[in-house]
């Protein structure tokens, strides 16, 4: 049984411009210890997907519907708000792009770490403190004992993100959702955080949903990847499958417009136009107006998710096999 099952998740927002379908029928499964990348551009619905699973969307104006969201056999949609809070603290943790705003500036790091431990694991103050020091050491903060009594502003950006990860890990969650967790950090600091996530996964078996716009990070870190566009997953599969045999026009477009540090010379192929207005009905493929690969069938019917290979699905009418790196995938 998968750790997390999401079926047909739909999140809408009513605005004065009409109903915005921010997430429109997203489904996926995540196994214990698996790292899944969720990529797409801003407004594609990747963050809303994560927040909807955590039920962190304000309702109204938002509205979350799904056929199923089960975590470890428990139906998350049926939980009471209090139970849900407990779940969020103990089993599913989330870290965000901006660690400064997620930390309370007037409480010491230690207080914030210990609070979670005391409240949710019912630890004594002394145990909580000892465990907090351990946690800070795990995430690689030197002189942890001393730094426990410091305030968030005394930490650098990278260190703050480590503190956030320490708080997220404090109750040994089985699922960690990281939403653009390294986007605001410098590359050398980012590399440290990625290293840390890799270690956590191999040592503690934590499953991770890694939300990022950076294809490179996903390629290096994730087991599988889902590509989102206009609130839907348009392609998903094992990382090597999706990167070497992209089967959706948008996935291919993303790869063609991303500059690579190990590659020089060729001109980038931008994706022309802009993402669609999510308040509009979309009877056809949402990527059609920007797609270079479009075929006649694209103007007739909406493509459905179809299996390309084991675990690899995409919703695209076009045949992109000419662009595949066949030497990479048998």
């Amino acid at each position: 049984m998968p750790l997390l099952t999401v079926k047909n998740l739909r999140t809408r927002f009513s605005t004065d411009r009409g109903t915005v379908r921010a997430v429109d029928g997203v489904s996926f499964e995540l196994e214990e210890g698996e790292v899944m990348g969720l990529v797409g551009e801003s407004g594609s619905g990747k963050s809303i997907t994560a927040m909807s699973i955590m039920r962190l969307i304000k309702e109204p104006p938002g509205r979350i519907e799904a056929d199923e969201i089960t975590f470890d056999g428990v139906d998350l949609l049926a939980l009471t708000p209090a139970q849900l809070r407990d779940y969020r603290a103990r089993h599913i943790s989330m870290i965000f792009q901006d660690p400064m705003r997620s930390l309370n500036p007037v409480l010491t790091i230690g207080r914030q770490l210990m609070e979670t431990l005391q409240r949710h694991l019912r630890m004594s103050a002394r145990d909580a403190r000892r465990r907090s020091i351990e946690l800070l050491e795990v995430v690689g903060i030197p002189r942890a004992e001393k730094r426990l009594d410091e305030y968030p502003h005394q930490f650098s950006g990278g260190m703050r993100q480590r503190v956030m990860i320490a708080i997220a890990l404090s109750c040994n969650p089985r699922l960690l959702i990281a939403d653009e967790a390294t986007t605001a950090l410098d590359v050398t600091i980012q590399a440290q955080i990625i290293d840390l996530i890799r270690r956590l996964r191999s040592e503690m078996g934590t499953a991770v949903i890694w939300i990022s716009h950076d294809l490179g990070l996903v390629a290096g870190l994730c087991d599988k990847v889902s590509v989102m566009y206009a609130g839907r997953i348009v392609e998903s599969g094992p990382v090597r499958e999706v990167f070497y045999r992209p089967a959706h026009g948008y996935t291919l477009g993303l790869m063609n417009c991303t500059p690579r540090v190990d590659d020089i010379g060729h001109r980038l192929r931008p994706i022309e136009g802009m993402p669609p207005n999510l308040a509009e009905p979309m009877p056809l493929c949402p990527f059609l107006p920007r797609c270079e690969m479009a075929v006649a069938a694209c103007r007739e019917s909406k493509p459905r998710l179809e299996t390309i290979a084991e675990g690899h699905v995409a919703s695209c009418h076009a045949n992109l096999s000419a662009y595949w790196r066949k030497e990479k995938v048998a």
């Binding site: 411009r17 136009g273 802009m274 993402p275 669609p276 207005n277 308040a279 509009e280 107006p289």
Partner: protein, 311 residues
């Protein structure tokens, strides 16, 4: 380069009217502001066209018809000299509005440059100018007015001068603090890099962008000046008889409060309505002057800023 819309087709283009029309339309969307504008226009109309639309001289004494209540001949009744109250109110509005306008003009003429200079240049100049303004602010405004009028004699110019001086530091401070914020904006750096000199930056860009708080403050100064003029006249320090003035008439009406309440209610009403009208407008002007608040009408649902044409 070919252009195609992400959400084709865009049926109707939004209207791109002039800034003034967009601002006006936005202003009138706010009901309180629209009501305020209407009242204010009515008072201005009365003041400007008083001699032609009201068949009475506000200073003509007619003891035979003194203390008459409101009637078809005298809509707001007559006072203890038989003068038409409406005519006096209309001519009083001329005094109030002109004192208000000249006070604003005087205070702005000094306060805005001082604030801009102080905020934009900063440093020692800022320190000197602001301490000077602080010194001004320590005087109770009405007392300062009384003192200046006492010193220079009571007439319209002196009253305006007195009220204007009091308001200079108020405007200067508002302008300065807004300038401090705008000065650090990227578009100021960008325009400087484009080759713009300080003069242009301050008067084209900074001034334009501090307009919202400035306009709000100006409406406050305007209504405060109307009230202050009424207060000074009430004390006998403002406009001298027989020139009609709301404050002066209010003072005289005290004696007839029971016998002729209309004499008292009319100036009170005019003062309250004009002050409220100006303040309502001020609040809404702040928003309506900002292009970011403008709603492009005739916009089909396909035309949202983000998902519009283009890349």
């Amino acid at each position: 380069m070919a252009f195609h819309d992400a959400s084709t087709p865009v049926a109707v283009e939004p209207n791109y009217d002039s800034g003034f029309r967009m601002a006006m339309r936005q202003l009138l969307r706010n009901k309180a502001a629209a009501a305020g504008l209407f009242c204010l226009l009515l008072i201005v109309f009365l003041a400007v066209f008083a001699p032609w639309i009201i068949p009475y001289d506000p200073t003509q004494i007619a003891l035979s018809s003194k203390l008459h209540g409101p009637s078809w001949e005298h809509w707001l009744g007559t006072d203890h000299f038989g003068r038409d109250v409406l005519a006096r109110m209309a001519h009083g509005a001329r005094v109030s509005l002109s004192v208000g306008l000249s006070t604003v003009a005087f205070a702005a003429a000094f306060g805005v440059p001082i604030g801009l200079l102080s905020g934009y240049v900063g440093g020692r100049l800022d320190n000197v100018l602001m301490r000077l303004m602080d010194a001004f602010l320590t005087f109770p405004p009405l007392l300062l007015g009384v003192a200046i009028v006492g010193l220079l004699g009571a007439d319209l110019t002196t009253v305006t001068l007195a009220l204007g001086i009091v308001q200079i530091p108020v405007l200067a401070r508002v302008v300065r603090s807004a300038t401090l914020v705008v000065r650090e904006e990227t578009y100021i750096t960008a325009t400087r890099a484009l080759g713009a000199g300080s003069w242009r930056l301050v008067f084209q860009h900074v001034l334009r962008n501090i307009l919202s708080p400035l306009v709000v403050q100006i409406t406050i100064v305007f209504s405060a000046a109307i009230v202050a003029e009424a207060s000074l006249s009430f004390l006998g320090l403002g406009v001298q008889p027989p020139t009609p003035s709301w404050g002066r008439d209010l003072a005289e009406a005290r004696r007839f409060m029971v016998d002729a309440p209309w004499m008292f209610l009319a100036p009170t009403g005019f003062i309250i309505v004009s002050v409220m009208a100006i303040n309502f407008m001020g609040d809404s002007l702040r928003d309506s002057l900002d292009p970011r608040s403008w709603v492009r009408r005739a916009v089909t649902s396909r035309e949202t800023p983000r998902a519009s044409a283009d890349r």
